[in-house]
Symmetry: C2
Subunit: 182 residues, 2 copies
DNA sequence: TCAAATCTGGTACTGTGTCTCATGTTTGGA
DNA sequence: TCCAAACATGAGACACAGTACCAGATTTGA
């Protein structure tokens, strides 16, 4: 049911844009009340993000699984592989939705808020790999490393979604992005 | 006048937090109407950001002024010097306001929206330095480089504002952040 | 079959942001 | 000095997101 409403919301937003789709529009199309909508989703943005399951914990586990011999940067890149593969495996609709997110300021803001949660999840492991004090808030290296990695993901997603239809593979784009820095 | 309202807004938000300060509260304290408030500032968030002048164009010019012999990463780091100095020179109030921004999701989102504008301004010059096609949307290197730099700035600001009062200099923190990556 | 738990819809409310219209208030000539 | 155009301000209505509370329906399990 939740998934069904999310699908309808996605359709409407792809068709008319995010701002020009009101919650009432979605409710009318899904034949539910406003009350029920907000019982399903804490906010209008989440009607979109609800589809893509939260991969933060998977990402953390993938990072932990990387050998210590890898630099933090390389380990991050490899830990991202499963996530990237998931994007590549998904159908065109996911790519269009991702583009909508990347190009709509309000959605992008919420997306980065989600990324901030990933960021938190990854801090401990990156900190360990750097041999840093996890509680030392004056050490910016952990946040810099994680933030820069996620910035590369964002750059790659932007390039991937705004480019031509049969474009370069996302994994290759991400390689280019991350190699350009470290 | 605008600056005065912004100062009052800052006071209230520092005292009671961002969400718990309504536009009406600010209007009452500043003795203006809601209409006038929204004529001064396009949104509640901007009552805070209105204080700090937009340094995006300065940043771009500073980057252009760096010699071509520097790598893009180094050039970015050096171009950030004037901005960093400005932060360090400002009084304690600016540091508290910055902390408020960094720790309040809604404000952070808007702040990153501003950064996205900086990002756009810097694209052309970074693209030139990389010898990339500025219109090639499939090349993620430019966005990755700029995004990662700004992520480092964010990491540094977070460390700087949440740390102890007579902490490490911001420029040193930023060095640590950017050196940790490239 | 009954009763508790859950799902749903309705209504009223707060808060941000937009819009329009009616007052002032300033400014710059004649 | 007076008039008029430009401008700033305030008031009110509105759209929309999100919250809180309550009442009725539906399901679930003993």
């Amino acid at each position: 049911m939740r998934a069904e409403v999310a699908a309808i919301a996605g359709d409407l937003m792809l068709e008319r844009g995010y701002e020009r789709t009101t919650v009432e529009d979605i409710c009318a199309a899904a034949e539910i009340s406003r009350s029920t909508f907000f019982r399903y989703f804490p906010s209008k943005e989440d009607a979109l993000f609800g589809l893509t399951l939260d991969a933060g914990e998977d990402l953390r586990e993938a990072l932990v699984a990387r050998p210590d011999s890898e630099t933090p940067w390389t380990a991050m890149r490899r830990a991202l592989d499963p996530l990237i593969e998931k994007y590549e495996a998904d159908d065109e609709r996911v790519r269009l939705l991702t583009r909508l997110v990347v190009t709509t300021p309000a959605l992008l803001a919420r997306h980065q808020e989600k990324n901030a949660r990933w960021h938190e999840l990854l801090r401990a492991e990156v900190s360990r790999r750097l041999g840093a004090d996890p509680d030392d808030r004056a050490d910016p290296r952990v946040d810099a490393l994680v933030g820069a990695s996620l910035a590369c993901v964002h750059a790659a997603l932007t390039a991937w979604t705004t480019g031509e239809r049969p474009g370069v593979k996302l994994s290759v784009i991400l390689d280019r992005a991350m190699d350009a820095i470290a």
